[in-house]
């Protein structure tokens, strides 16, 4: 009898275990908004008066900019609490993929092309926001938003993410205080650059720092070097209109190699990450120059600079003056200052969000409203997506007043850019470019061999 009772208990236990497992498995599927995404199922974002709490996942820009965005949002939507969750740029894909299968995340960042959180891949998990944007901006909404944001955040005809703004690369940033301290002027040619570096090194200061073990930034530098040889050639190679083995790319690759051989790149650059290491070294004022794009502009503000310096391990940080400069001319053709850019990140609303209305309200606020875009503009982190929005300089505190003009010049320059940064580079080409550049940097491959392999990769990825 005992045995039979025991068996029954065991069978019942196993049945319960199975039921729990089945329930747990199915829970993920039905746990979120089950409405699906029909493309026109817009949950009215306006007039969201009900209390709600949403979680926003992203890798950029982080505090204090994100605090200011949320603050501006809450001025309009006081009942919606937004929680920012900062993720590491390199670990973003690994974290976001499983999270999107649950209701853990409401609003999440996506990027153009092959970069982390690519809209091409993760857009499938987001609502189509076309109808919502049209409701917010009118039928001519496309004319009001930057085409960079609309084009690269539209996947299979669905607007999966609303771009907060664009970033551009191709320039360098210098520590103006260090340049002034040693009586140096920003280099315009390669010879001047070598001379500047020699002076810094004589004084025990690092010259130029780049984390060449983080490939995306290597692509930026190489892209700029190609532009110096032949503007537009980089895009043509990606479009397969010209081979990577062409002399243009060889010349640029030789120049890339020269940066290492001539000691412009710091010793051990190929083992260093751009974030956090190269960024930290620049913010610790151990190096005077760094390869960063327009996203670095936010550091002209004391609050952002202090936060960044503290994150870099500087105790009692005193903000210093940074300034953007054109990448020095290594070719002698005068093709300097050419920039390229993409929508930096867009905010999408997860299909699994239990607070879709509130989440859409936030995405629309950040990407399409004047208030939200003004907050973006004033953070100096991005060039806003909404036409006509520019930084309100009266509200912006600068480390040094001279930075207003340099930033305005940089943004004007960036707005002339016609070439995308990563938007046209798929994941395979991204990897192939990173490998080619790394192999040349470490001497594992000659420029010729690396470009031949790159071309071979380009042909194989179709």
């Amino acid at each position: 009898m005992k045995s039979t009772g025991f068996k029954k208990t065991m069978v019942a236990g196993i049945a319960v275990l199975g039921l729990v497992a089945v329930t747990a498995c199915s829970g993920g599927k039905d746990g979120g908004d089950s409405s699906g995404d029909s493309g026109s199922d817009a949950v009215a974002p306006a007039g969201t008066d009900a209390e709600a709490s949403i979680i926003w996942w992203g890798w950029t820009p982080g505090p204090p900019a994100t605090d200011h965005y949320i603050e501006a949002f809450n001025a309009v939507y006081p009942n919606i609490k937004v929680e920012w969750k900062q993720l590491d740029i390199d670990g973003y894909n690994a974290a976001i993929a499983p999270a999107l299968g649950t209701d853990t995340v409401d609003v999440y960042e996506m990027s153009a092309g092959s970069a982390n959180g690519g809209a091409e891949v993760y857009g499938v998990n987001a609502f189509d926001l076309t109808a919502d944007v049209e409701a917010a901006l009118g039928a001519d909404w496309k004319d009001k938003l930057s085409p960079l944001g609309v084009d690269y955040m539209t996947v299979d005809g669905r607007l999966v993410s609303l771009s907060a703004g664009a970033v551009y690369a191709g320039n360098l940033w210098i520590n103006e205080d260090l340049f002034n301290q040693y009586g140096l002027t920003p280099p315009k040619t390669y010879d001047e650059w070598k001379s500047v570096c020699a002076t810094f090194k004589e004084n025990g200061v690092g010259c130029f720092v780049q984390g060449a073990n983080q490939g995306a930034f290597n692509i930026d530098t190489y892209h700029e070097l190609v532009e110096q040889v032949s503007p537009g050639a980089f895009d043509k190679a990606l479009a397969k209109e010209v081979a990577w083995t062409d002399d243009v790319f060889l010349q640029a690759m030789n120049n890339w190699k020269a940066l290492f051989d001539d000691g412009i790149m710091q010793e051990g650059a190929a083992g260093l990450m751009q974030y956090p290491e190269a960024n930290n070294l620049f913010l610790q004022q151990k190096y005077a120059m760094v390869m960063m794009g327009t996203w670095y502009t936010m550091n002209v503000q004391p609050e952002a600079m202090i936060t960044a310096m503290e994150s870099a391990g500087v105790s009692n940080p005193v903000p210093f003056t940074i300034a953007p400069i054109d990448f020095p001319d290594m070719v002698g053709k005068g093709n300097t200052g050419i920039m390229f850019g993409d929508a930096d990140y867009g905010v999408g609303v997860s299909l699994k969000s239990k607070n879709a209305a509130a989440s859409k309200a936030f995405a629309l606020f950040l990407g399409t409203s004047e208030e939200g875009q003004q907050a973006v503009a004033d953070s100096l982190n991005l060039i806003p997506a909404l036409a006509g929005i520019t930084p309100n300089w009266d509200n912006i505190e600068l480390v040094n007043d001279s930075q207003k003009q340099t930033v305005q010049d940089l943004f004007a320059h960036a707005n002339e850019a016609t070439s995308p940064r990563f938007g046209n580079i798929n994941a395979d080409m991204n990897d192939a470019l990173m490998m080619a550049l790394s192999n040349v940097a470490t001497g594992t491959a000659t420029p010729e061999k690396a470009l031949a392999e790159l071309q071979s990769q380009a042909e194989s990825v179709g």
């Binding site: 025991f6 060449a212 083992g271 151990k286 990897d431």
Partner: protein, 306 residues
């Protein structure tokens, strides 16, 4: 009833009892079995299914490609590189860890002062999480102001200062050094325990036969630790094949692919480059290699002990 009949019946009853015991044991292991079969083997099976796909992991469009991922894998230069790195890594780390672990265990079985403190110091790296130590090692190996180069310069060995993680020739050895630092403690503890099991009479006999310390270690203690060494060899092989944390945290598999392993390649392919099917195919290869390697070592060990 003869004595033989009684014995037969007793034997039959014993077997019956054993059988009943076996039956009644099933419900006890069933929940664990369901979990194991449900989670592990289902996951292996699902990985097998994924390996037949060309899929980014999120797209509603799933393309079935059969064995194409495995064919691609055979021609993948990076995979060959990763396997070569794994082999070198295994041979070096296993040899050094075994030598150090065995020597330290033998030393701590002698009349050394502060033995417990020494044991703790040797074992501590094993329990430290790579995620916390990774950034520390990056700083230590830093070309600029890393403690290793600083130390070398401080003692006048400037010429030996080197960008350890930036040079493909030294990046992999750097990862090996860190791995040895972490796992020697575990090797030491296992050897220490194995040495404790050796009969003191055996050691005494060796002494009486005139064997010195080294001879005793080589002819008595080392053979006595054979089982431990084989277990460590198998665990080391599986560990080498699964290597991910240190190379990813310290060098991100670079520079280039200088510290690429199967584990880092799986992550790179499946997560970063959105080739989930290909990543699954590499995972299966890793699994097969680990299982085959373990079986091979066990068989070789059994044959050599016969």
């Amino acid at each position: 009833m003869t004595q033989a009949t009684v014995a037969t019946r007793t034997e039959a009853a014993r077997k019956k009892g054993q059988k009943r015991l076996q039956h009644s044991g099933l419900p006890w292991i069933l929940p664990a079995m369901i979990l194991v079969v449900g989670l592990i083997y289902y996951s292996v099976g699902y990985t097998g299914y994924l390996s037949t796909l060309d899929w980014n992991g999120t797209s509603p469009t799933v393309k079935h490609v059969g064995a194409a991922n495995f064919v691609q894998l055979l021609h993948d230069k990076v995979i060959r590189q990763a396997l070569w790195h794994t082999l070198i890594f295994y041979v070096v780390t296993f040899t050094v860890q075994t030598t150090l672990g065995f020597t330290l265990a033998a030393l701590l079985h002698s009349k050394l002062k502060l033995r417990t403190l020494h044991k703790v110091i040797i074992f501590v790296p094993t329990v430290l999480a790579p995620a916390t130590m990774g950034p520390t090692f990056r700083l230590m190996f830093s070309a600029d102001d890393g403690i290793i180069n600083k130390g070398l310069r401080a003692i006048g060995l400037d010429s030996l200062a080197h960008p350890w993680l930036a040079d493909p020739k030294t990046a992999l050895p750097s990862i090996m050094v860190v791995t040895i630092w972490q796992w020697t403690g575990m090797t030491f503890i296992l050897f220490f325990a194995a040495m404790s099991q050796i009969e003191p009479e055996l050691l005494e006999a060796a002494r009486l036969d005139g064997a010195g310390n080294l001879r005793t270690l080589w002819y008595v203690v080392w053979p006595g630790c054979r089982g431990t060494t084989i277990a460590l060899a198998i665990l080391g092989l599986i560990g080498a094949l699964k290597t991910f944390d240190w190379p990813w945290l310290i060098t991100v598999g670079g520079p280039g692919r200088a510290t690429e392993f199967l584990g880092t390649n799986i992550y790179r392919e499946a997560i970063r480059e959105y080739h989930l099917g290909y990543g699954a195919a590499v995972s299966l290869v890793l699994l097969v290699l680990a299982v085959c390697g373990s079986i091979l070592m066990t068989v070789v060990n059994r044959r050599s002990t016969k």
